[in-house]
Symmetry: C2
Subunit: 294 residues, 2 copies
């Protein structure tokens, strides 16, 4: 029986760990907030007292934490994962962080013989609960094959996309396209409303042609109704746009629309809307167009 | 038998007129370039000697011309459609033009009792040939119902979206979203390539999640291969972005990404790439990122 040490049992990590238990894995979970292990234990998993235990007793270590700084602390810290690991151990980081940090962790793990993969996910809380996340994996091909059984428990689409950091790069590209598409749909909606167009009929036509996208399919109705409860929060998308713009800058890649939408998301956060769904970009287009007082 | 006067038999209008013949309509076609009536006549239609004949002998008049200036000339000119029309006649303009021009034509037609619809299409040459265009219709609801049989011959999705000009507004929103999405995908591709990511695998994952869109489905493969033969030319998308940005400005709607991508398309045209497919926005992202010499 494979033991998985699972570190970070929040909104995403919690249900992922539970799904691993349901699939027959022995899951030893740890979170800085101890209460978060409760659901895992109820489901038949075990609670570890610290990172050291979760790593030392595990065959595979999985992390799902908030940002690059958290991964650095948890993986590279004095009492962290690598300090407690053994050669041949598999460490899968499913957090969404900077590709540079993912490469730094892989670099530090190499002399220890620890096999690292960056495996950020998309699909949000519903995807984590239903076990149908999309997972973009960077690292060595044979390590990917070794990790695949674990990843296929929590994800429906699990794809190896390149070397260390490549998973994060694809996740960053994903967040760039999602943010940009929400903004394009928001601009279209405000434009159509200004001309008295039947927006529901319009969205139906737009969704059926070359303009068709998942935001029109899944979010436009909520945008028309001004329902902005999250979903995926502006705060988190702001964090991700920081990763995208920094990573593009480091690579010398110029992303005019990506940068512009990063600024628009930053403005929503600065104006106190960080807790709203990212589709609230519509609110900002209305504000900029003088169509609502805030 | 209903006679359709069809004015403008180019890449789009030609096959649309032929489809009307095939569906049993008596089609009387006219184009400033007489050779363009040949395909229609071969298919069983008739060639008119001028606009006057195409309008006077028709029950329904359809136009498919290049831009707002062409519609103004053809519809409002001294020897144009309205000058030759009779009360109760239906005039459907399928050109993609400014919503303001569409409203001007409707305004001029009203005292004459001519029933005008703006009905721009999307789906390109293949959609025109296969008769499965998407058609966004602005105008009176009962005129839309009267025009529906004709429109459903050339289009698979035919939707009434609001008052005069609304069809053009939806088409403009369509072109905004399409241009912006191509640019977002282009930025993502250059970014992923810079990091050595397996782009084909990456596109597969991106297409499966919230970032999914028709550009990833239909155009990303050609973009990866740097195949930019049109398809839909930069020159035409530049014309359409002029309509979008002017119409947004007239309505006081601020479209940050729409405006930015309009500038990027303008730059491609200015640099001599107007004849390439709009997916050539990728070339500009590469140029801006110093990844190709031009």
């Amino acid at each position: 029986m494979t033991t998985v040490g699972f570190i970070g049992l929040g909104i995403m990590g919690g249900p992922m760990a539970v799904n691993l238990v349901k699939a027959g894995y022995d899951v030893l979970g740890y979170d800085v907030t101890p209460a978060r292990t409760e659901l895992l234990v109820e489901a038949g998993g075990r609670a570890a007292v610290g990172i050291a235990e979760a790593v030392q007793k595990a065959d595979v270590v999985v992390t799902m934490v908030r940002d690059s700084a958290d991964v650095e602390a948890v993986a590279l810290g004095d009492h962290g994962i690598l300090a407690n690991s053994r050669p041949g151990q598999l460490y899968i980081d499913t957090s969404s962080i900077s590709p540079t940090t993912s490469r730094d962790v892989a670099e530090a793990a190499k002399p220890l013989g620890v096999r690292v993969l960056d495996a950020p996910v998309s699909g949000g809380e519903p995807g984590a609960i239903e076990g149908n996340l999309s997972i973009m994996v960077g690292g060595e091909a044979d390590d990917f094959e070794a990790a695949r059984p674990v990843l296929e428990v929590v994800g429906a689409t699990v794809v190896h996309v390149g070397p260390h950091g490549a998973g994060q790069t694809v996740k960053a590209a994903n967040q760039l396209i999602v943010a940009g598409t929400i903004e394009l749909v928001a601009e279209a909606i405000v434009f159509l409303e200004a001309y008295g167009v039947d927006t529901e009929a319009a969205i139906r036509v737009l969704a059926g042609g070359l303009a068709g996208n998942r935001i029109l399919d899944r979010k436009a109705a909520g945008m028309l109704a001004r329902r902005f409860e999250p979903g995926f929060r502006i705060d988190l998308h702001h964090k991700d746009m920081g990763i995208v713009t920094s990573a593009a800058r480091e690579a010398g890649v110029v992303i005019p629309l990506g940068s512009a939408v990063a600024q628009l998301i930053a403005s929503l956060k600065a104006q106190g809307d960080g807790g709203l769904d990212h589709s609230a970009l519509l609110k900002l287009v209305e504000q900029l167009s003088g169509r609502v007082s805030r």
